[in-house]
Amino acid sequence: MKMKTNALLTGLTFMMTGGISAWAAEYPTRSINLVIQYPAGGSTDLTARALAIAAKKYLGQPVICENKAGGGGTVGVALVAAKPPDGYTLGIVTSSPAMAFHMGKLNFHPIGDLTPILRWGNYLFGITVRSDAQWKTLQELIQYVKQNPDKVSYGSPGVGTPPHLAMEELSMVADIKFTHIPSKGIAENNTALLGGHIDMVSDSSGWAPLVDAGKFRLLATWGEKRSDRYPQVPTFKEVGYDVVARSHLGVIGPKGIPKPIVAKLAEAFKKALDEPEFLSVMKKMDMPTYYLDTEGYEKYMRSDFENIGKLVQKLGLSKQ
């Protein structure tokens, strides 16, 4: 009896594998949707679109991008997580969902409920003020905020995003208080800063064109070292505040995408990382590429998840 059951199960497994392989072998048979979790025109959007266009070459089908912004980059990911894992809906992810999860604002698990595909990038985060603002250096700004708590407002791309948490960490380390006005992305933040509705912006490099044009002043960057494009701007570390904002940037799908399809996608996107058009957009945004394959990315996401948990707890932002 056991033999028969075994045989049956083996047969079924072969059939399923065969079926899935057949499905995977044909994949993709139609265009793929890529959900970008920040508004169009920002750093995530532009580089992701460039990646999508480059990947089309290797996938044979167009990768159509759509923007679903909000929740500090969690709305888009939540939408992707709810879609069927057939490989036709993918999303872009950063560290934000993990941060939101530890803050009790996410109702799915940012690793368990997703299928990582690969990591492709790193951000450049920084803070900017208007060029006619009274603060010419970071020290001047911090000095002012110390004496005027809660008076300086800053925009961020959302609650639980790396630039937001970095500001929270800074506030803790320097013992100062800002007023945080979250928005959906860099375009809104830029507009608000230009119009004087907020005093500064903590966000990724979408402020670059306005800095170059002389409308904004880049006070400091949040990386380990200085940015290549703005070598004269110090990092927070250098000025004495040991805060680094980091976020991974990768492609994911809903949980349960069959392994052959994941492999195909990972390979296509990996090749896309070498495309000159993609690289030129990344360079424009001053964002370095950073490749991790599927397994490596999942491992990284897990360790990043742990670190973020500790950070959120340290900042006193975890859900009670």
Binding site: G41, I53, C65, E66, G71, N107, A187, G196, P209, A213
Partner: protein, 503 residues
Amino acid sequence: MELLNYLGMGFSVAFQPMNLFYCFLGVLIGTLVGVLPGLGPVAAMSLLLPATFHTTPVASIIMLAGIYYGAMYGGSTTSILVNIPGEAASVMTCLDGYQMARQGRAGPALGISAFGSFFAGTIGIIGMLLISIPLVNFALKFGPPEYFSLMILGLMVLTFLTSTSMVRALMMAAFGLIVGTMGLDNISGLARFTFHIPELLDGVGLVPVVMGLFGISEVLLNIELKIKREVFTTKVKGLLPTLDDWAKSIGSLLRGTVVGFFLGILPGGGAVIASFVSYAIEKRVSKHPEEFGKGAIEGVAAPEAANNAAAQGAFIPLLTLGIPSNVVMAMLLGALIIHGVTPGPLLLSQHPDLFWGVVASMYVGNAMLLALNLPLIGMWVQLLKVPYAILFPIIILFCLIGSYSINNSSTDVLIMLAFGVIGYLMKKLSLEAAPMVLAFVLGPMMETALRQALIKSKGSFSIFFTRPISATCLIIAIVLMIMPLLPWFRRRPGIVLEKEDVA
């Protein structure tokens, strides 16, 4: 004048054969996209963006821009013919445009819509040349409190001038706000009223709602009758607007253009608010306001001029500051960056050929659209001669497939059907759909603006009144709200407001 030199350069760029070709391609695709439901200009631009890589940045922006304002032209066509707005900015055109079509005057409606759009586009371009910079700086002064107050004013204006009681119109607006909250909340990330249906996580789509409220409900109304009634008059009265039509419309076109242009520059607001406000203004200044809603040509001319002027105005923040004022502009921003051009304050000095070339080609594009759309009027009018019994299944199928194809989701179709029933009941009960749609579109933006303003002011509502622009908007809104209520206690509700002597 220096300006003329630049314009000359722009035209020489715009008339290069390749740019002309891409302009034509763009406006053609745009018109198609506008006429067909479901596919919007953003999706079309997304699909065609990669195709532009093999050309110059100028050509690709010309084409993508053409898709955008071409879609505005196309969206009006379905509004007039079958009461289905191609997009939110065309909703107001349905009100009088469709009624005109039913009276056999689809030709003049389509005609004034095409001419009006061209007129607005032309003036809009002149506006762009002359007053871009000061206007943009003014627009930047609009922060969260100003946006909130402006949107409240917009809602008030519209409800004030509908033909049913103001209470009913405000009820519909409140309903629209509620429907607008469905989905994932932007700031907190919580799911609101989604009943665990994953497709609702993104909220209810505009297209299914509008197609249901306007299109399906209209069809239901027409088939319910026991007695056969001809929906469209078989006698077609002319293909183009008459001199009389022109005389009536010229003022509306001017006012609509001005309103549209200014509102188009405001990031986020744009064409939708412009079309609603211009309609309301027309009704207010008209000497025979009771005709609005029954086929007044001014009710078509003004919103059409407004939404095209707004489309032109929306380019200004992008081209002068590199700030996108709506999703379409954001896509153009992306396209420019991918092409290696960085939009921003330096665009004008670094790439004058791009700037002036695009501006000039908009004029060319508008002219092409006029040439494209006018001959088609004859064809559209013939279409309406088909007996309704045969026409309505096609309309229904159009709506079904259109709403399905947005997201390949049957849920969208079900939403459309649900709103079809709601719209049908609303029409029976003289509850107006327009305030509901406007509130639905503005609601999420209003909410974000409100919450951001309150965070900034730390919970104090005084922020709305201490800032001058915001205070002005709110005061006007409050005045509008109080005015009809005062005589209300003496009069009965349901009074058609235009009969009241509102100062």
